[in-house]
Symmetry: C2
Subunit: 479 residues, 2 copies
């Protein structure tokens, strides 16, 4: 019996070693699907349990991974993924934001069809359930004779709000439709929250680097921005935040705990709890942007800060723009104790939102199609991510460092110090490749040698070719 | 020959007198359609020309009117339509606006299905081309495999913008799609314009009385409001405006030249020209709200101020919310020389607008269905208006005075000085009737004995009954 066990152990080590070599040599590449346990057992003439143990060994080494209901996949090879350098703390705490011409330029170039848009942090259409969404829209139009014609309920379509409340269960929320206010996408949700709880001249803390749209919105509202460092590996600098609260009157915080854009990091549950507690004690409302929350690579839907909120101090913002239908502009806020203010702001600025799109998304949710779609999207997106990483690792200079996002659409890439990311942007766009230069992710254009690469476009030969071109451009600028 | 002419003259006088008596006695009521000229000639055994002359005589007396391609209709009887009292000029020029609890209350009560909503300034669904709009939406979804899924062009759907440019011809505009920026309804358009050209603390002039949403938007943007009196009969007080410009630094104007809400008045072309010239000289941008412009009772689409704009100083705002599809939230701005600022504001606050609704409206316009629908809507709305006036004249106290709107959805009603309009509102809502008290149409709640009655609900027995109830309530409060 002991001999049999030893033999099995020898066998699965042997199989695992063979597979490891294949991965090292690139025969098996990041994102490739491995044989199922049953197939491996047949192919190698070994028992199912030996085959299983081989995979477990490779999994423990971090070379492959199991994905629920899908099988085993090759992970990216870890030695290519370095730790991103520690970001220097913000030099002066509060900055006047200046208008960024770069952003206008990037947006203008996005309209050209021929450009391959790594600057998007959104899904390619191939990932979206077009036919089923159209079906939901048709159902919306046919609900009654005059469906979708009238002004929608000011707080938002009731069916949609019910479904948002139902889905909240996944992130640990216990709410009803009365707690939800719909908006025209997540950006409008955040702007409304800021308008509801701040006055021009107030200081608002955000995690940095951050989505450039947030800076613009704050500037437009006359707010001062206080950046709290958020590192891909070590996460939000809670000490920094605590010291800042003692020094400056912070009127509100806007954080992206789940898969921050551009870093892709996930705030641990414990930090979320601490953050919510700290801000409740100091009576500082937290605007939580959870737009990427459903797009996790891990095993579970991460919780939100809102799920730890006992005082109604957290305003959760989200939408379907990144996960289902960018063009529908359907978003929402769960504004806690600021609900009345929020509805008032909505009434003033846009009255109600569109009826057809809200109804269609409500129906899509109601039929359970969203959960099904998300399961597929997460798998496809993760595979896509691995392929991008593999290609970048192959073609970018060796000193390139990559973030390890745990969800979402973007890679945060640290380049050689000699590279000016905006210069790279300009050279890349000449080749019809659009990337996002790091400069626009902080108020003081700090991230000069960083770029953000969105991996939302379905991986194909053109993507590979464009990433290769990009790698060559970076190599030239690195010297 | 002379005898024949005299006989004909005698005849048509006779016929006209008979008809006049029928109108006086109420046998023929406001809004009733008269026989066609051919039918009248047959019925009375007179020639076509005699029948025609009878109608011309009644028309000259203001008792009936011809509507293009529709025939002759009884107008409301003029003696019931008094001149509305001259509004006292604004006492103090600039006011701090206070939050109005009335508005919140009115909006809350609007969600109840059982309430008859004279407080709406929008079309009843029966007036809207539901089936054809659904068809347009289906075409939008089927345009290509991934139609309507992606983020829309930031400036707005191109097809829609082209069509808006085409339709501009009707109000005297010569523009291209590049001059148009789409928005989420007209309210968002006006808010974006204000944000693009003002700073908190600036003073903005508006015509008064005015739609209460404008006050709220300005308050929310930290603006001071300067009200320029606008009278149902004498129109915008241009002298007052000129004096105000000399005294106060006005940063922008927001006017509704075509069928102001609540007055329904139409600014004469000459005044429009003068206004545009004056404001261009003083370098004060004019935000022109033309949301009711297509809903004219007269023979021609009224021109806009924008059509006289030679310097790009006029920002025209409109939408389909009042004329086609309230629930679609499709609006636009033609922002003249402020285009870049406007697009920037749009990017910050809402990114792009929804794709499916914009595409559907674009297709509806492209197929020429909008013009067809508008022709029907205008006729139906005017008939509806006449029926409302008839009923109000019958059931409201004799000292009630009515505006004579030349388009749009609303009647501005002056009641006995003893009536407090908000008290009336409260008593009416107990009977499931919602009206809009005059108080909320000015910053200082000046119009205490005025109410606005929307006539957008298709006239029926319930409307009649509710107006009768309202008349009784007013009578009780008048003593």
């Amino acid at each position: 019996m002991i001999a049999a066990i030893e033999k099995a152990e020898f066998l699965y080590h042997q199989i695992a070693d063979k597979l490891e070599k294949q991965i090292e040599k690139g025969v098996l590449k990041s994102g490739d699907k491995l044989l199922s346990v049953r197939q491996l057992s047949k192919e190698q003439g070994i028992s199912m349990s030996t085959a299983y143990l081989s995979y477990v060994q490779l999994e423990n080494k971090g070379l492959i991974e199991a994905r629920p209901k899908s099988g085993y996949y090759v992970r990216f090879t870890p030695h290519t993924c370095l730790m991103i350098s520690k970001i220097e703390p913000v030099k002066s705490d509060i900055k006047k934001i200046s208008v960024d011409e770069m952003i206008t330029m990037i947006y203008k170039n996005l309209t050209a069809e021929s450009v391959i848009k790594f600057s998007l942090a959104a899904p390619g259409v191939e990932f979206l359930p077009a036919a089923k969404l159209n079906k939901a829209m048709n159902e919306a139009l046919r609900k009654s004779k005059y469906s979708c014609l009238n002004y929608e309920n000011l707080q938002g379509n009731v069916l949609l709000r019910k479904q948002i409340a139902r889905l909240a269960f996944n992130w640990g929320g216990v709410i009803t439709e009365d707690d939800v206010v719909t908006t025209q996408g997540c950006m409008e949700a955040i702007v409304f929250c800021l308008k509801a709880i701040t006055q021009p001249g107030d200081t608002v803390a955000i995690d940095a680097p951050n989505y450039f749209g947030i800076f613009h919105a704050m500037q437009s509202l006359g707010l001062k921005v206080l950046e709290i460092p958020n590192h891909p590996d070590t996460g939000l600098d809670m000490d920094y935040l605590q010291r800042a609260i003692e020094k400056v009157k912070i009127k509100a915080c806007v954080f992206v705990p789940n898969f921050n854009n551009p870093i892709g990091s996930l705030m641990p549950e414990l930090t979320k709890k601490q953050l919510v507690k700290l801000l409740a004690e100091k009576d500082i409302p937290l605007i939580e942007d959870d737009i990427y929350g459903e797009l996790y690579f891990g095993k579970q839907r991460p919780k939100t800060c809102k799920s730890f909120d006992k005082t109604g101090n957290v305003l959760l913002c989200s939408s379907v723009s990144k996960s289902l239908a960018p063009g529908y502009r359907v978003g929402w806020v769960i504004p806690g104790k600021y609900k009345e203010q929020l509805i008032r702001i909505k009434l003033i600025h846009s009255c109600s939102n569109a009826t057809p799109t809200q109804t269609a998304i409500g129906i899509f949710f109601e039929k359970g199609r969203y959960e099904l779609h998300l399961r597929n999207l997460r798998k496809a997106l993760y595979t896509n991510y691995l392929k991008y990483v593999r290609t970048i690792t192959n073609y970018f200079p060796a000193d390139t460092k990559l973030s390890q996002p745990q969800g979402g659409y973007v890679l945060w890439v640290e380049l050689n110090k000699n590279v000016n990311a905006f210069e790279l942007y300009q050279k890349a766009i000449e080749q019809n490749i659009s990337i996002t230069p790091g400069q626009i992710f902080s108020a003081d254009a700090r991230f000069t040698n960083y770029i953000r690469i969105g991996f939302g476009i379905l991986y194909n030969d053109e993507v590979e070719k464009s990433l290769k071109t990009l790698g060559n451009l970076i190599a030239k600028l690195s010297t």
